[in-house]
């Protein structure tokens, strides 16, 4: 019963918004604003088995692969850089320059260098790496001085130090970076597919636009929203497990602060 109430509490505004949207769009009958029921029909038509294997799965694949590669690069580099003042000083200006480039601007560059059909992955990786990297550097730098002394006194090995002390200390920040990177990956996936691609969710979105298929466009937009919501929820679940050692109150405070 309690669960049911909580569920209702969580979704009631959303449901009302959908109903209002339906009534308004039906009344207005504007060609570009489709009612949810029509969008749902379009979705069923478009997310058919062909599209699923040729556009949706490849699109999600790019998104997840790009994000995962960015995450690995960001965390590994971030931990090392965070603990080395010399490396950080030397690379700081370069990184600040590179991350200031708006990632969508990379689309033409990668399209020219690696080709229009293969540029999506590099674009996602390059754009998504900065939030993880910079957050990890920040977290790794902030290892508490008493823990640094403790590690030295007990002569921890290099692996114990990096994986057992620095990484867990940085983990809350790492997850904040991962979350930003994930939404960045989603954006870059769509943009790179919109601009130039022979398949993918963005490609289908552009196609629907060219065919004046408003419900179709809406259906793809809804799919992107659903994917973003789903992946963010999964990541949050992972974060809760990985940070289960944190005192409860701090977890809840973090969830509130980050809108989780």
């Amino acid at each position: 019963m309690n669960r049911l109430l909580r569920f209702a509490h969580r979704w009631i505004v959303f449901a009302v918004a959908v109903v209002v949207w339906e009534l308004l769009t039906r009344a207005a009958a504007h060609p570009y604003f489709s009612p949810p029921s029509t969008i749902a029909e379009a979705a069923v038509r478009l997310w058919s088995s062909d599209s699923l294997t040729e556009d949706i799965v490849p699109g999600i694949g790019r998104l997840l692969l790009g994000w995962a590669v960015a995450a690995v690069i960001g965390v590994v580099l971030g931990v090392l850089l965070g603990r080395s003042n010399t490396a950080r000083l030397a690379l700081g200006p370069v990184f600040n320059f590179l991350r200031s480039i708006p990632p969508p601007l990379l689309v033409p560059f990668f399209a020219a260098t690696v080709g229009i059909t293969r540029m999506q992955l590099p674009v996602i990786i390059f754009g998504a790496v900065w939030p993880v990297l910079l957050n990890t550097v920040d977290g790794a730098r902030g290892v508490d001085s008493t823990k640094v002394d403790t590690a030295r006194v007990f002569k921890l090995s290099r692996a114990q130090w990096l994986l057992g002390v620095v990484l867990p200390s940085a983990l809350p920040k790492v997850f904040a970076g991962l979350r930003l990177s994930l939404s960045m990956s989603l954006i870059l996936m769509v943009i790179s597919e919109l601009v130039g691609s022979l398949n993918g969710i963005g490609y289908q979105l552009a196609l629907a636009k060219d065919n004046y298929d408003a419900p179709g466009m809406w259906a793809w937009i809804v799919l992107l929203g659903v994917l973003g919501y789903l992946f963010n929820s999964l990541l949050l679940l992972l974060e809760r497990r990985a940070l289960a050692w944190q005192p409860r109150h701090s977890l809840e405070a973090r969830a509130l602060a980050t809108g989780g």
Binding site: K147, D149, W245
Partner: protein, 257 residues
């Protein structure tokens, strides 16, 4: 051979806003098996002394030797219970894992038994699977002590280990320390700003002056091996000694230079 020899030890911190001499010309030795208490006023440089002995900072003057070997970098058979124990524990590891973490050179099986023994010695048999933040301050301090003991150091350094727990817990932890060092025959150098504690725990008490700290007195504590919170603390020998230490602390002049 002496366990620890400190000769002419001095340290000057250099910062943006000038220099600060925390300790100066410290001289003392510790024999194997002894429990020596260092008592000094707040901020006189007690933590600095322990940090130089443990090799965490390089002193600007003088020398420290452990078993006759000059200390240069952290010696391998030394452990420290830090003043800030809650920050010294790893919150992402369970209590048992915290104690096992530094024992990487042991086999898995030995590690487990060593940690279990240390936790039992400090009365935390049941708490091994908990996380440090689920424990009270006094229990966290026991975990830090267990971790230091499980490491089997030849010298155990303790920096105001009981300063931030309530009086009742403090008495318990003091007696626990006395029992454990009897059982394990550990050499301990314990820093405190509490006069009573230094006399109750120590075989010897080193009294430090105000900053920059020097040794103003090195007193033997003739209270025997077995001590008791009530009878020992009310004995004449205890009362005399604590009065002497108190006198030394209040009259100890900051050295004029």
């Amino acid at each position: 051979m002496k366990m620890l020899e400190v000769r002419g030890l001095g340290h000057t911190y250099r910062g943006k806003d000038g220099t600060h001499t925390a300790i100066d010309g410290l001289e003392f030795t510790v024999d194997p098996g002894e429990l020596v208490c260092v008592v000094g006023p707040s901020g006189c440089g007690k933590s600095t002394l322990l940090r130089t002995i443990s090799g965490l900072i390089k002193p600007t003057r003088g020398s420290v030797s452990l078993h006759g070997n000059p200390v240069d970098g952290v010696p391998s058979d030394l452990s420290v219970v830090f003043q800030d124990y809650s920050r010294s524990l790893f919150p992402w590891l369970s209590v048992t894992k915290n104690v096992e973490f530094p024992l990487r050179k042991l086999t898995r099986r030995n590690r487990t038994t060593r940690a279990a023994e240390a936790l039992a010695a400090v009365g935390l048999d049941g708490a091994g699977r908990k996380y440090p933040w689920q424990l009270s301050g006094g229990m966290q301090q026991r975990v830090a002590i267990a971790r230091a003991l499980a490491y089997r150091p030849s010298l155990l350094l303790m920096d105001e280990p009981f300063a931030s727990v309530d009086a009742q817990t403090r008495f318990e932890l003091e007696d626990l320390l006395l029992r454990v060092r009897r059982e394990q025959d550990t050499t301990v150098l314990l820093v405190t700003h509490d006069i009573d504690e230094s006399v109750y725990l120590g075989d010897r008490v080193l009294v430090l002056s105000k900053s920059p700290a020097t040794v103003v007195a090195d007193l033997d504590v003739p209270l025997g091996q077995h001590r008791d919170q009530i009878t020992t603390r009310s004995s004449d020998a205890f009362v005399d000694l604590r009065a002497r230490v108190a006198g030394l602390l209040t009259s100890a002049p900051a050295r004029v230079r």
